[in-house]
Symmetry: C2
């Protein structure tokens, strides 16, 4: 294993490669690597038994690949908890530095960190932390942009992307916050929210990357 291969497995996992086929383009985009290099690496990972890969069809993780990816995500999210809780990191900083730490922390370190943190269930951005056996809690959330005006819910998860995190943190959005939609701008205009009592405006694009409880059963869509 190398940090590079680990990144491939982790991204395939995040792109849904546990159940579905993931296209090379998706991987190339998210890892910022030339498509040709992706093909090459996928062949290696396939030979190592970490993914099922069929040329031109895409790839999906094997059991072994899932295990490794889940361990990485576990380390990443535990480090985020540590950095935020004990070192005073911001959302985006924690994500950045956890990206580095996840690749070097051996299992014993991850396990001891987990204990030190008192076995947190979620990372600071609201993602479930996989258990050491790879199991992960699934939740059915919807994106904030789908909440109708007048409706109410709670912030549960945000996508981990530097610019978004800085934007959301500046707005005062936190995991667990109560939100009520006051108004929705037309043509993907901004949403006006009541966030823990205070009024806040959020862009439509950002609202698409913030997840909330699905009280009204909108379901996946």
């Amino acid at each position: 294993m190398t940090p590079n291969k680990e990144d491939y497995l982790k991204e395939i996992y995040k792109l849904g490669g546990v159940e579905n086929m993931v296209s090379n383009k998706q991987i190339a985009d998210v890892l910022q690597i030339a498509p040709a290099s992706v093909s090459e690496m996928l062949n290696k990972l396939s030979r190592e038994g970490l993914i099922e890969y069929e040329a031109y069809k895409g790839s999906r993780l094997t059991e072994e690949g899932i295990k490794i990816a889940a361990q990485l995500l576990r380390g990443h999210r535990l480090w985020e908890v540590f950095l935020l809780r004990h070192l005073g990191y911001s959302w985006s900083e924690a994500h950045e530095d956890a990206e580095l730490l996840e690749h070097v922390a051996p299992p014993r370190l991850t396990e001891r960190l987990d204990k030190f943190l008192n076995f947190p269930a979620y990372c600071p951005h609201g993602n479930a932390i996989p258990h050491s056996n790879g199991q992960i809690t699934k939740s059915s959330l919807i994106t904030l942009n789908r909440l109708k005006a007048g409706k109410h819910s709670y912030i549960r998860r945000v996508i981990e992307e530097k610019e978004l995190l800085d934007y959301l943190e500046a707005l005062g959005i936190k995991i667990g916050c109560s939100v009520k939609v006051i108004s929705v701008g037309a043509y993907e205009g901004p949403l006006m929210l009541e966030l823990d009592g205070k009024q806040v405006q959020i862009s439509y694009k950002a609202a698409c990357q913030v997840y909330i409880d699905d009280f009204d059963g909108y379901g996946t869509d």
Copy 2:
């Protein structure tokens, strides 16, 4: 910078490359790398202005090289403090995992970790932790094997080497312990010590890698 180059700089530093010329063989031995590869890498580091290197003569760190090496040592030792103090690591485990963490922790992480740990002056093995400006506290200690029978001192530092650390920890040797030499075996035989009251036998080889206060002014030798 890469982890590989960092290891070269760090080891040159530890081998005295701040003041003296360090031979390629020393580096090859400690890094477990073929001498030919060492020559090659030293040329690169020299071209990058991190060491002064003259073929067949050896190498010495430049100001820039010293700065990087000190930062690495700083990170290494701070991580050791964290791993021991908060995650329940043993001496040797802490050294091993700090070896990995030091290469990925960016400056902001090191600084915040330092603060979290309340600015420790020494690592758990008794090595001074360089300050963020690269400055380091020097102390004049002597090795335990040079303490005469009947004489008394305090444990201040131990060499960071896995097998030694496990051996010393099993004996109950800790930084700050009081030691009195009861008897010294002939022909580099074991020393009998009184360690914080308890009697303990330590091999001569190990005693050479344990540093104590120099109350009787034996000086460097």
